[in-house]
Symmetry: C4
Subunit: 266 residues, 4 copies
Amino acid sequence: MKRKIFELIDEKGINKSKWNRWFDGFIIALIVLSIIAIILESHENLNQKFSYAFRAFEFFTVFIFTVEYLLRVWTADLKYPNKGQISARAKFIFSAYGLIDLLAILPFFLPFVFKFDLRFVRILRVFRLLRVFKLNRYTKALKLVGSVCKEKSSELAVTAFVTIVLILLSSTVMYHVENEVQPDKFPNIVSTFWWSVATLTTIGYGDVVPITAWGRLISGIIALLGIGLVAMPTGIISAAFIEKVGEEKEEESDYNYCPHCGERLK
Amino acid sequence: MKRKIFELIDEKGINKSKWNRWFDGFIIALIVLSIIAIILESHENLNQKFSYAFRAFEFFTVFIFTVEYLLRVWTADLKYPNKGQISARAKFIFSAYGLIDLLAILPFFLPFVFKFDLRFVRILRVFRLLRVFKLNRYTKALKLVGSVCKEKSSELAVTAFVTIVLILLSSTVMYHVENEVQPDKFPNIVSTFWWSVATLTTIGYGDVVPITAWGRLISGIIALLGIGLVAMPTGIISAAFIEKVGEEKEEESDYNYCPHCGERLK
Amino acid sequence: MKRKIFELIDEKGINKSKWNRWFDGFIIALIVLSIIAIILESHENLNQKFSYAFRAFEFFTVFIFTVEYLLRVWTADLKYPNKGQISARAKFIFSAYGLIDLLAILPFFLPFVFKFDLRFVRILRVFRLLRVFKLNRYTKALKLVGSVCKEKSSELAVTAFVTIVLILLSSTVMYHVENEVQPDKFPNIVSTFWWSVATLTTIGYGDVVPITAWGRLISGIIALLGIGLVAMPTGIISAAFIEKVGEEKEEESDYNYCPHCGERLK
Amino acid sequence: MKRKIFELIDEKGINKSKWNRWFDGFIIALIVLSIIAIILESHENLNQKFSYAFRAFEFFTVFIFTVEYLLRVWTADLKYPNKGQISARAKFIFSAYGLIDLLAILPFFLPFVFKFDLRFVRILRVFRLLRVFKLNRYTKALKLVGSVCKEKSSELAVTAFVTIVLILLSSTVMYHVENEVQPDKFPNIVSTFWWSVATLTTIGYGDVVPITAWGRLISGIIALLGIGLVAMPTGIISAAFIEKVGEEKEEESDYNYCPHCGERLK
């Protein structure tokens, strides 16, 4: 029976039975509905009208997720057959998926953080949808996007460092230039970070804007550097994607064997 | 005669007669003028002054388009000679071009949705201009752009999923942070989506802006992640374009054999 | 003497004499100063104080540019030695550089458009600086940037077409959604173009912003499509640059001769 | 003893002793804390409360940095053993790192610029953190990013020139179009630069916005050209990154000869 439950709830990739599909579909539907409930609950008048329904549905969702979580913990030794009873369960509990599953139900059982944190943390259920991606043709794309970010982490870190330096420098300069004229908009360097980020990312909300000639000159320079800031990670990521495609092709190619002696090259 | 009409209205690619050119030019001019009329009609004072002219021109346009549509349906069996009379016509009616042609005239004949929907749907006539692109040197470019989008749909879907998750998370967090201070700007999570999208796309209208320290911190982080959001599809699309160009070259290249001695070069 | 003047004013690429350098430097300085003068003249109080100086400097600039222009016309037959006296001069006058030179001085001699147009057209002198780029290491880069834009013009035209269609569609829809609530901000479709462009380019001035739920939903979708709008030309241009680099390398490579028979391959 | 001090304070790359690590960690911590102090000092109420503590910490920081700087000057002849006593020290003092180190302490010793400039220049200490990057795996990434910017400097300069021309042209045109209607927002061409930069970089603060029909038309065109402005450097930088990766692979590849039979493969 334990094996049957395991086979029902386990992700199998492509060759999954009808029951697997039904179970997966049910869980996904529950996650999506639960997220929609969280969103709708924030509407004050909806919350007042249907507060009972929201509570009942939340109770039902958490109940299902808890049962599912406990079953996954119980059948963890079948998932990792090489491990012992306890270590297999520990491995599942502290795996990324295990922790996400726990986060989805935990807030409900912590009444002392009930009022505020519950709603806040519940939205992390959205990550449970990653399981969906594990099961289909998006796996390759997700892995590709992930590996691109990972491989170029050093270059992206350098870009991030340059960004931080730019934010620090521009905020400090801007604070000294604009503080006297607009003490309410540029009260201190930390507050000026807000302007820096809005400018460097080219968002430009327009709530904090320099009005002095020097402030505008510096802001203009920062803005033009902001283009570089957008161009740099784009260039890095483009290069990584192209590299990946190139590597894939190379693996596919006929260069695995020497055309002269027929020996394997790799 | 049916064949003559078919030859007149059918797209032929490059080798088209003078009559074809005249007919195409006439239809394109009518589409463009009809779109201009739709746009100008929205000017209240223009609409009051020339309401008769606008109605007359609309009547004329729809009449021509209807005749053209019926002729295309009638000659569909010449377009798809391998199919039967009815199935050929059904194929045309339910093809993308057939549906666009129908949408361009249908609103006129539905008096019960006349008042609002008519104007709204009529603008879809702009898609009829795609026929223009079918007929010239832009075909290749259009196909290239299309195939790039199609081929990388999985990667773009992953980016879209990440975007949706980011919007969900940031909206939920932001709602809880800013709702108390600005209940009119962040009244519920759905309304906060508006701020999320404006920030992640780096638009930053500035109508909804966080004012608390925590709100600004989270907003700054979201903004910097927004750069990644722009960088990711750009990188994917760049890689796809480069791949395409590489594939084309490979196919084109006669360099596999020397044209002089016939020996293999690679 | 004519030859000496020609040698003085003609661009020579790298091997130019001391006199050439002095002449070029003088003209460039005059262009830059003249542009600065145009900019400063727009300051009302500066213009009132130094109006005489601005007029005198403008007179001097136009005098020098006119003499230079006439000399260039006069020596055009030495620039194009294969052509006749008149056709060589006509060729220079109607060349891009000739027209720019003419535009830089013409407004001064047209007193009837003196008041408004003069200032407006004078700024086109900035294009005279392109001559500077003709003379140094930026030539290759300028040509590369130019040829990238030219080669991918079809793809960029398709992107432009998609952009126009998006602007048309979103403006029409937005006008019908927001007109009733904000008749002053969305008075007609043409005015709504302003909102469309600001949103699709991710500028987001914030002066025209949807306030209805439907308006915001559509605006959000348009905004996310706007990212694609930025990604597409970036991808196209990236691919073109990479292609160019690839082509250059191929030309440099040893594949010009077949390694087997030694015959030229290209 | 001099050698011991040199070995303590010198950067050694990977094989550094425990004492090296402790020293580096201490200096980095001091830089970071000093930057945090500069930022917090700008909060008026924090500055009033803890003004003594801030002064004391600043004194301590400058003392340590001064001692470190003098020791580096003293041991410069061990850093550059091929040079003489004086020329080695001069080389260090006028090196990028030497100047950054000097800028970090100099403001303290210049009492006449004490009030304003001190805070302003002190933030440049952030560049001292570059030493951190010299010592670890980010070196390669930093060099790559640097060499990409350097190698494509001509192309980026051309883009910058085009940007400046666009700013000049659009500002002049916009000034003449909008000045009459909004003399406070577009008072002169220099002030209109502010609008130009905000539009071309797609920031769009929204504090200066055209309201005339012509102004909005021109603004829309500038905005769409602004997309090209972002696309161009992104394309250039992407191409450079891909080139670099390609070059690296070419150098790495042993595929020129088959490792089994020794025949040429390409």
